[in-house]
């Protein structure tokens, strides 16, 4: 009898407490398991096996071998440099168009550019920079006619060259994320500071920057991860001559360049761990930053 009565209740309300509702999420979690979790589990498993198929921690110890360690250090260095440089420049640009007294139309233009540039990466981006600062690049040739050699001819294929290219998608990402935060600085805060006799510098040092700091730092960490995970741009640009982690992992997929599949899996895991740390810190900082944005 009770079942009949229950059926008369609208389903929206009836099922709210029922654990059957979770079934609606099965497709999503199944997909995530099949195409994110399972591949990662496979790599984790492989990272704990040696060539003979025995369980070992040796692959993680081998991450300290010079080639692999150098790759990680180079990757981390590139990501740090481009995160900081991209973060600072992106912040200055966003500040310029929002609070720097530039016409409103420039702000809209910058936001659109940033959307395009932050998504314009990989093969065409690498090519565009080869055409600019490569050996026959436009800027290289211009400077040469002026008698200036500002950088070595193969500069674009070096670490610094790669950093210059990565900045193309790094600073626009900073602009996109920091602009709403700068917008969120309430005029009352500035007025209050000025009423108490604070100078512009004092206002920035004591009010605005402390409020923006979690967002700035968080976004820089996001930029770090953004650059650390990028593979296509570096591959196209250096054709594997600059050994950074994503490029070595790529070479490992095509044909065991490390002569040890387990080490390749451990490198992939190392990459996941670095990314996980970056994203976790970013999420925490972002949550802190949101405190100031609730109106």
């Amino acid at each position: 009898m009770t079942t009949v009565v229950e059926r008369a209740v609208p389903p929206v309300r009836r099922a709210r407490r029922g654990s059957w509702s979770w079934l609606g999420l099965v497709p999503f979690f199944l997909f995530a398991f099949l195409f994110i979790v399972a591949p990662v589990i496979y790599l984790v498993g492989g990272s704990f096996q040696n060539n003979a198929g025995e369980t070992t921690l040796q692959n993680y110890a081998d991450l300290a071998t010079p080639t692999v360690a150098t790759a990680f250090l180079t990757s981390i260095e590139i990501s740090l440099v481009t995160a900081i440089a991209g973060g600072v420049f992106g912040f200055l640009l966003a500040y310029a168009v929002i609070l720097g007294g530039l016409p409103r139309v420039l702000r809209d233009a910058l936001m659109t550019f940033s959307g395009v540039a932050s998504n314009f990466a990989g093969v065409p981006l690498a090519l565009a920079f080869i055409f600019t600062v490569g050996q026959l690049g436009l800027l290289t040739v211009w400077l040469k006619t002026l008698g200036i050699q500002a950088y070595p001819p193969n500069f674009i294929y070096t670490k610094t060259g790669l950093e210059l290219v990565y900045l193309y998608f790094q600073f626009p990402l900073m602009v996109l994320i920091i602009a709403p935060a700068i917008d969120g600085l309430r005029p009352e805060w500035r007025e209050a500071a000025e009423n108490m006799g604070a100078s512009s510098a004092q206002y920035w040092r004591s009010v605005a920057l402390p409020i923006l700091f979690p967002t700035i730092l968080g976004t820089m960490i996001l930029l770090f991860g953004n650059s650390f995970g990028a593979q296509a741009t570096a591959y196209q640009l250096t054709a594997g001559t600059l050994p950074i982690v994503p490029v070595i992992i790529g070479a490992q997929i095509s044909g065991d360049v490390l002569h040890n599949p387990g080490l390749g899996y451990a490198m992939a895991m190392g990459m996941v761990i670095v990314m996980a740390v970056a994203i976790t810190v970013y999420t925490i900082l972002q949550r802190r930053a949101e405190r100031w944005r609730r109106r």
């Binding site: 609606g24 999420l25 790599l43 932050s118 314009f120 990028a230 296509a232 741009t233």
Partner: protein, 263 residues
């Protein structure tokens, strides 16, 4: 006086940004125009059968990815908001995983898992393309979920659902005819961003040996001089078009997704 002086500094910052942004594009254009006769790089590039076939392939994969991503995400986000809000944290965590697992690691795992029984997808063309779509759906999860979730939050899905149910609508009708039209802007922004990302993607497509646009440009750059410059500019124009589309459909709303991440 002080304000004017600082404004000059900000103009300089903006000019520097402008220069850095446009110089590579101008250099690419300049290089592509060096081919003789005029515009030969473009006519050769477009005339190459590989150009259209790879572009068409990537567009097709992009459209399928968008549909698959929406089929997966819209019901999930809807269900989380309506019925199982407790699952929100878990679902959001999963949608952030693609940031933690970079594309090169993802494709590494996908190839190892799906090149053997029980699901040897990489052994056939269709299977490889399916795997590519699944990989791209994974890449789209973070911003697609965010876009759809923001869209759903801005409407009262509970009242809409109850109103539809009281008039006898079933779940498919509710999702397709009530919820979807109401989150149209969010979906379109997410769709255009996905298209921009899929068209330029190289890593996953190249390791799965798919005839996509990214790998095509990479191959072209190894054999030709001017044509890659032309194709790079075309690729840039396509990204630009997608972003303009996002700006146009998102006019007057707060839904703006434009961050797909680097490659």
């Amino acid at each position: 006086m002080r304000a004017r002086r600082s404004s000059v500094v900000w103009w300089l910052v903006f000019a520097l940004g402008l220069l850095y942004f446009f110089l590579p594009l101008y250099a690419t254009l300049d290089f592509s125009l060096k081919a003789k006769p005029f515009l030969a790089a473009y006519s050769n590039a477009v005339g190459d059968p590989g150009f259209f076939s790879s572009l068409l392939y990537s567009l097709t994969i992009g459209v399928i990815t968008i549909v698959a991503s929406l089929v997966l995400i819209v019901p999930t986000a809807y269900w989380v908001q309506l019925r199982v809000p407790r699952a929100r944290t878990a679902v959001e965590f999963v949608t952030l995983l693609p940031f933690v697992v970079p594309a090169v690691v993802l494709v590494f795992g996908l190839i190892r898992v799906y090149s053997r029984a029980p699901l040897p997808l990489t052994h056939t063309d269709l299977g490889g393309s399916a795997l590519l779509v699944f990989g791209y759906v994974v890449l789209s999860l973070p911003y697609m979920y965010r876009a759809v979730d923001t869209g759903l939050r801005s409407i009262d899905i509970r009242s809409l659902t109850e109103a539809a149910q009281s008039m006898g609508a079933g779940w498919p009708t509710i999702l397709l005819r009530i919820i979807l039209p109401n989150v149209r802007v969010a979906l379109l922004s997410g769709a255009f961003l996905t298209l921009a990302i899929v068209l330029g993607e190289f890593t996953i497509a190249s390791f799965l040996a798919r005839p996509a646009f990214g790998p095509y440009l990479n191959l072209l750059s190894q054999s030709k001089a001017y044509e890659p410059a032309a194709v790079s500019l075309i690729s840039f124009a396509l990204t630009w078009l997608a972003m303009i589309a996002i700006a146009v459909v998102g006019r007057g709303t707060r839904v703006r997704v434009q961050i797909g991440g680097a490659r």
